[in-house]
Amino acid sequence: MNKYVERLYNGIIRENPTLILMLGMCPTLAVSTRAMNGIGMGLSTTAVLILSNLVISLLRKHIPDQVRLPSYIVIVASMVTVTELLIEAYLPSLYEALGIYIPLIVVNCIILGRAEAYASKNPPVLSVMDGLGMGIGFTIALTLAGMVRELLGNGSIFGYSILPSGVDPIGIFVQPPGAFLVIALFIAILNGFHIRTRQRHLVESTGCDRACGACAAPCEEKKGEKDA
């Protein structure tokens, strides 16, 4: 397989950031109340991922190793600010719907994770493809979760009501508990599939990615268990 296409496949299927690595759970749970919000959030994150991967890959030989994480954070934060201003100007309704979660793209583990694990070691074009693949994988997962939640909780998909009158939607699915439930079911279905085909072990509770501070704790724990 072409190495550029391989990057896309890797991001969408093999290492899907949401469903396999379980990174970036905050926006996944928070904005998946509507399918449209899922697409909007997914595409915003994709834009930031591609831009930050490109810049970091171009600067990879100039950023000293000791200050690389702060440098990455500044680059990512700048890209997020640019994206936020663009959304505010051109898509005000999406800006309303996503609210605080747009600036919070900065602390999305997927972005820093890809910067550290991929863009800092690979040439620009490959890094952009990697960002694109990861972004599409994230968008697909978010949109699927949004569709399921919108259908069950609101009786519609992409804003079009499809439930026959007289059938009441289950309101809890567009409320916070519904987010946890739907994502839990998604991962359980994937787990069931993996058990049947025996391809891989079960999805762990968080991906072990050094770059993501908040996610590194379980890795430290695992290291400790091995040492003990």
Partner: protein, 192 residues
């Protein structure tokens, strides 16, 4: 005074940072394997969120707002939080080794905890005063600690249960979180 109590109860229980706002989910799912570790992380989060809310508020009111640099707040806040965590870590290491060993590895992990940045940003959005920001940060930290310690207790209980194979690992933890979230929805009817 009632206003401040309302802010604390509101941010700790009614709009619980994890179960209602979905901030800090990463560490909420990752660290909640043991009650002790959860308590330490909760302590570190309360500490950092309270200080970060105060510093972010001061910076915003006296530096960003007067010069019309409102759009810089995301970049400034994330840098301040990262630096702050470092300073707090060094300060604790020197002055109180006991607290330092208790919070241990959890302090540096807080930099990318979206709850800290989230609270700093919502404080600005809601137009809170200095005292209100500090209390809202503190309440959020308390809410985070309550949620993660409860989840850790649930996880120690279900560890030995015969869970269907596909639901082992992440799914059962998320379902436990969903049930907790339903319970916390009850707080929405609190009225004073």
């Amino acid at each position: 005074m009632t206003n401040l109590i309302l802010i604390i109860v509101g941010s700790a229980l009614i709009h619980n940072v994890v179960l209602n706002q979905f901030l800090g989910i990463c560490s909420f799912l990752g660290v909640s394997k043991q009650i002790k570790a959860s308590l330490s992380l909760g302590g570190a989060v309360i500490f950092v969120i309270t200080i970060a809310s105060a510093v972010a508020h001061l910076l915003y009111t006296y530096l960003l707002a007067p010069y019309g640099m409102d759009y810089m707040k995301t970049i400034v806040f994330i840098l301040v939080i990262a630096a702050l965590v470092q300073i707090v870590e060094m300060f604790l290491k020197k002055t109180s080794p006991a607290i330092y060993t208790a919070l241990g590895i959890y302090l540096p992990l807080i930099t990318t905890n979206c709850a800290v940045l989230g609270v700093a940003l919502t404080n600005v959005q809601d137009g809170y005063s200095f005292i209100e920001s500090v209390f809202s940060g503190f309440g959020t930290g308390i809410g985070y600690t309550i949620a993660i310690v409860l989840l850790a207790s649930i996880r120690t209980r279900i560890r030995e249960e015969a869970i269907p194979e596909a639901f082992r690992g992440a799914p059962i933890v998320l379902i436990a979180a969903a049930l907790m979230s339903i319970a916390f929805m009850g707080f929405a009817d609190l009225s004073f």
